[in-house]
């Protein structure tokens, strides 16, 4: 049993920490959010130079060969800085789908570009009626000659406005909630019939709704076997779910640290408010929630890196996301409460951390959804 980070993991952690500290203060972040792109291309280039974009890829694919624990280490630090760059959607989700499902041609065309920072992908899977179930797919894929014609609408596609290529889930066959019959297609964001309605999320990221109207792609744009993408899609979303949970663990650590610090300096009734037991116990509860969240995420990361079957891994991820969601609500709400009025203003980072963790709770399924999924697996 060993819960310490390897030397490589420590280096990875330090490199992200250093970046967040030097390049990502709250005001710089705010400036980045206000740009049209909504993320910093300069930072993205730096991510490539630092090798972070290679982390999700195996060594055979020319990557770092990062496992779930590596991903957890990075995401925690990203969470502290509330990064808005599309790392999770492009590198982790899009990259992993190409790596796991793509043929040699697709992989050699796309993976080097992704790792070099020249290509950003986004995964379009959620639909208005699907809620958090990625296997509920109404978008249709109809074969026509050697082509496939896609029709449907996707919602909340993280990083869509930044992406050159969308990876779209669509149904070749089967009923709306069947696992069988789901395929993934590589679709140029600029292709005729693709319309992206961009929006900025509550936590400062770029996202968008995507409609597909008679979008024609060649059959060679399909990732993997026809109708057989469900398992790979679920696995990637599970990995992204763990990443989101890890990001929340980092952000919650920040929320706790900032709250404790504030309570030591803010004076009312002639004394620091941190001396009040009513507040001390609430901060102790925040600490407990942070530790339980970290513990369950570590557990899930280890299980993802182990030899268990897909169902066991999925169950571990749902356990973690559900538990972290519960922590998020307490830690986020109490951080704002203990900060008092300043906590609900736009000028302080605490409110923005609260927004980030709130978004992370619902991303890839909130606490209630994952509790139900856990119980059903």
């Amino acid at each position: 049993m060993d819960f310490s980070y390897s030397e490589e993991q420590q280096m990875l952690q330090e490199s992200v920490q250093k970046f967040v500290m030097q390049k990502y203060d709250f005001y710089t972040r705010d400036d980045i959010i206000k740009t049209e792109a909504g993320y910093s291309t300069e930072n993205w280039t730096m991510f490539a130079e630092l090798g972070w974009l290679t982390v999700p890829f195996s060594e055979e694919d020319g990557g770092f060969g990062g496992n779930a624990v590596d991903l957890m280490v990075m995401m925690e630090e990203f969470g502290k800085g509330m990064l808005v760059e599309p790392y999770l959607s492009a590198a982790v989700m899009g990259g992993t789908l190409v790596a796991n499902l793509g043929n040699d041609e697709q992989k050699s065309a796309l993976i080097p570009q992704i790792m070099e920072g020249g290509l950003i992908t986004a995964v379009a899977y959620a639909e208005q009626g699907s809620r958090f179930n990625p296997l509920n797919v109404k978008t249709s894929a109809a074969a026509e000659g050697g082509d496939v014609v896609l029709n449907g609408a996707k919602v909340a596609v993280l990083g869509a406005p930044n992406a050159q290529i969308l990876i779209v889930s669509a149904r070749d066959s089967g009923a709306q909630t069947d696992a069988e019959g789901i395929s993934l297609y590589l679709v140029e964001a600029s292709a005729p019939g693709v319309a992206i309605t961009p929006f900025t999320t509550i936590d400062g990221r770029k996202s968008g709704d995507v409609t597909l109207t008679d979008v024609r792609v060649p059959a060679s744009a399909r990732l993997g076997a026809a109708g057989g993408a469900a398992a790979a899609l679920s696995a990637v979303i599970d990995r992204a779910t763990l990443a989101a949970a890890a990001e929340a663990v980092g952000a919650m650590d920040s929320l706790l640290a900032k709250t404790v610090e504030y309570s030591k300096t803010r004076k009312q009734f002639g004394t620091a408010i941190g001396t009040f037991q009513a507040l001390q116990h609430r901060m102790a509860d925040m600490f407990i929630q942070c530790q339980l969240a970290r513990s369950i995420v570590v557990r899930a990361a280890m299980i993802l890196d182990g030899d268990d079957d897909a169902a066991t891994k999925a169950k571990a991820v749902s356990s973690a996301k559900s538990r972290v969601g519960k922590s998020i609500r307490l830690v986020g709400q109490e951080a704002v409460q203990i900060h008092g009025g300043i906590g609900v203003t736009d000028e302080l980072d605490v409110g923005h951390l609260f927004k980030r963790v709130t978004a992370l709770d619902l991303m890839f399924g909130n606490a209630e959804y994952h509790l139900q999924r856990f119980a059903s697996l």
Partner: protein, 399 residues
């Protein structure tokens, strides 16, 4: 990063499992499974079996007859014990007073007391709390006044667990009234047969008297029963209170409880033609409890991993106490919820040694309310959960 046991640890785990399967007496297991109280004789019998194997004192150094186990081995042992339902040795001797005697006692005291603890020849009990000194233990008032070669003790202690079985009691007594309250306390060992000691049982909500009040009326205690120096008792007491408690989180017990809850839910009608196992709200509660256990288990493993590389058990262990007890209480509450009307009959004697009749109600519903009431103590004793939150605030958060 990995949560795997080494080959040696796995071999040790098998050895523990085999030992428990062969040596934990079936009659005792039956009683534990049916929540029937074990008698003093049965507890002692089991402890002697542990001692014969050399496993009575996992937390003692080898020179005193301890196991010399690593933190991971101790964890494996207490986990397997918990999964089997085998009771850990009563803590008052082996876990509480013994480490104090080892650290601060004289050579003579060590020889006089430690072997009998190891062999379960002597039953110890605790004399800490007083009616007006609970969480604020240092305000205790029981006085010990020196008179020649004796201390004369007057006062009373309370919440004394199984004092009715005890041969000896370790006590915190006040030996100086003129100084700061922590600086006038001494640590005294008292033979329960000494004239002037009387016990008054305290009946708890489950109808059983597992605790007592202890009255000291001019009790003469030889000065050689003082541990360490006079007025230094508070320091020794704190060592005892912070002494590493194995299995504080209660994860194995929690796993047994959860399995039992699932079993009972499947056998309990929901009143609408289905079972409680299919009830959406109850299913969610079960899932939440299971997830909490997983989080707690890994919080404990992370603490254990830190211990294994030589870090001291930090105030973080307060988390394990708070979360472990709150989860145990939540599961008690769920048992009551499942039992419905079946937990209404109050028949405490059905859990006592010698009860001949059938236990009332299906499954363990007969015990549901009894356990729910009794286990409210979990968040109160051992440093109430509020005190644990004070510890986290001060020692971890620096507030």
């Amino acid at each position: 990063m990995n949560a795997d046991f080494t080959t040696e640890e796995l071999a040790f785990q098998s050895e523990v499992r085999e030992f428990l399967a062969n040596e934990f007496p079936a009659e005792l297991k039956h009683k534990v499974d049916n929540r029937i109280r074990l008698s003093k004789e049965e507890i002692v019998r089991w402890q002697k079996i542990l001692h014969k194997k050399g496993w009575m004192a996992p937390n003692w150094p080898q020179e005193y007859g301890g196991t010399g186990w690593t933190p991971t081995q101790k964890y494996i042992f207490s986990t397997e014990m918990g999964l089997m339902g085998a009771p850990e040795p009563t803590p008052f001797g082996v876990t509480m007073v013994a480490p104090v005697i080892m650290a601060y006692g004289t050579e003579e005291q060590k020889q006089r007391f430690l072997p009998d603890i190891l062999e379960s020849n002597v039953w110890w009990c605790q004399g800490y709390s007083e009616p007006n000194a609970g969480s604020d233990l240092a305000s205790l008032k029981t006085m010990a006044v020196r008179d020649g070669d004796y201390y004369v003790v007057n006062g009373n202690k309370t919440w004394n667990t199984y004092g009715q079985y005890a041969d000896w009691i370790f006590c915190l007594v006040r030996t100086d009234n003129s100084v700061k309250k922590q600086e006038g306390i001494s640590f005294l060992l008292i033979d329960m047969k000494t004239p002037g000691i009387t016990l008054k049982p305290i009946v708890l909500l489950d109808g059983h008297a597992e605790v007592n009040e202890v009255f000291f009326d001019d009790v003469r205690v030889p000065v050689e029963n003082l541990i360490g120096e006079e007025n230094k008792g508070w320091t020794y007491a704190k060592v005892l209170l912070t002494h590493e408690r194995t299995n504080i989180a209660g994860v194995p017990r929690g796993k047994r409880r959860l399995a039992s809850l699932k079993r009972i839910a499947a056998e309990t009608d929901d009143g609408f033609g289905g079972t409680m196992a299919e009830n959406a709200d109850f299913k969610a509660q079960l899932a939440e409890a299971e997830i909490e256990l997983q989080a707690l288990e890994y919080a404990e493993l992370r603490t254990l991993a830190a211990l294994s590389v030589g870090k001291a058990p930090g105030p973080e262990s307060s988390i394990l106490k708070i979360v472990g007890t709150e989860l145990a209480q939540k599961m008690d509450e769920m048992t009551v919820e499942l039992a419905g009307y079946n937990c209404l009959p109050f028949v405490p004697e059905q859990f006592e040694e010698g009860f001949e009749g059938e236990q009332m109600g299906p499954g363990s519903s007969a015990a549901a309310a009894i356990n729910y009431f009794n286990n409210r103590k979990l968040s109160i004793f051992g440093g109430s959960n509020e005190v644990q939150r004070n510890i986290i605030s001060k020692a971890v958060l620096g507030l």
